[in-house]
Symmetry: C2
Subunit: 265 residues, 2 copies
């Protein structure tokens, strides 16, 4: 069984090119989970010679919040802009004011439509990280059966479209799927993004399965994915959690940022 991940991270970073002056800006409210995430973005950006500025917004109206997004997007020193997800309902439309040329997290509806239609544009970092990983290991999707467990807007849905575009036959499963193990067993490539520890067991895989674990949960202080440990002894290849798709996602987001920087030069 092959553990997938680290060499792909190194390969992406090697291809960064010149990153001097490349800057990400995040905009959000004071919120523990968001602060933790944006903190990690700062550390990651710095690690690779880029910058990340986190703008924490205090009490403001939705209109004021939208104006902040517009103003930040207008800044020449900012190459990519991310807005807190999910936003409170009244603020959610602020994503429409993200400049599509700086929309490194694919949040603006115009970016979303490009993703859906298969047109050039930014793709959200996590599903793009999965594609990067498959590309790195030369795992061709053409004509393959890809089964995706999870239908969220962050991973399941965009990944389904991206795999379709690469000529995979794509099945999307979720909590209402009947006989999940049976469906998963038919996958050449099984991708799970549920956040349910131990969801995928040896019943869901074969010795030929390539398993991409995008799940992320915390059990007894430990980070874990959707795939149970005994699967590792059975399948052909798997991305571990931690140190699997997570680090690939981090460097992929920065890859989007560099792309934004190069596009706007």
């Amino acid at each position: 069984m092959l553990l997938l991940g680290k060499p792909c991270v190194d390969s992406i970073v090697e291809n960064y090119g010149d990153v001097s002056g490349v800057k990400l800006c995040t905009i959000g409210f004071d919120n523990d989970q968001w602060n933790q995430y944006t903190g990690s973005l700062v550390r990651n950006a710095q690690k690779y010679g880029m910058q990340c500025e986190n703008i924490v917004v205090g009490d403001c109206t939705p209109e004021e919040f939208c104006q902040i997004v517009k103003d930040v997007c207008a800044r020449k020193d900012v190459n990519g802009v991310m807005v807190q997800q999910p936003l409170p309902r009244e603020y959610a439309h602020a994503v429409e004011f993200i400049d599509v040329n700086k929309d490194v997290d694919c949040l603006n509806p115009l970016s979303v439509a490009k993703l859906y239609l298969g047109k050039d544009g930014f793709r959200p970092a996590t599903p793009l990280a999965v594609i990067n990983l498959l590309d790195f290991y030369k795992i061709d999707l053409w004509g393959k059966n890809v089964v995706i467990v999870g239908r969220g807007n962050a991973v399941g849905k965009p990944l389904a479209l991206m795999c379709l575009q690469r000529n995979a036959t794509v099945t999307v499963c979720h909590t209402k799927t009947q006989n999940l193990a049976n469906v998963c067993k038919q996958a050449d490539i099984l991708i799970t993004a549920c956040g349910v520890p131990g969801l995928i067991t040896t019943n869901h895989v074969t010795e030929n399965s390539i398993v991409i674990d995008v799940g992320l949960s915390f059990v007894d202080g430990k980070t874990c994915g959707d795939v149970s440990a005994d699967v590792y002894d059975v399948c052909q290849a798997v991305t571990p959690v931690p140190r699997g798709i997570g680090p690939v996602t981090c460097v992929t987001l920065l890859q989007n940022l560099i792309k934004a920087h190069n596009n706007n030069k």
Copy 2:
């Protein structure tokens, strides 16, 4: 074997309510295929007491074309606006100027993003017709295996998202799918939208299959779908071509138009 179609059309029309003053407007270039389609829209609208005005645009720049779209959308007497598809490449962005409240064919990227995200908004008529038909015959999608053959932007992709939202497990197949018959046989509901006459044979169905034929081709002057005739003797239910999903699509588009009219009252 049950033939699906006509009673669903009647049911949709019965629920139209007051249609006085309801008006659709199409905008396109002089083009045989488009003229044929818009001609049928006029006949259909009139049949049910509505109006359809077809604007045929002569030589104009992309900017002028966009301005026409804006001007038509601004008209108080027009409830729904459709723009020729596909448009020549330089004119394609004109769909961004369709008022989302009048976008009865779901062409504006903002409408597309709503479809993708599962938010309220217009859905394209053909996939919505499939959902209408399944609803009418009380064919519940919850937990069912839906196999869609075809991944186009008009039917396959939007239908995949709409079936997912109704809790089906969805598989999308296409020309690169390996062992198509085997995948199709596992469907509770098989939907085909390829335009390849005879693509779906008795090898692709079981006696329990419900088959929705969205294919449309012309062979020796006759209209036909993707499903070969002998399938009708095997499967549980099927939409014929002609007189299957086509007429449901016509009345579904007008249903969208009435919805636009009611929203903007």
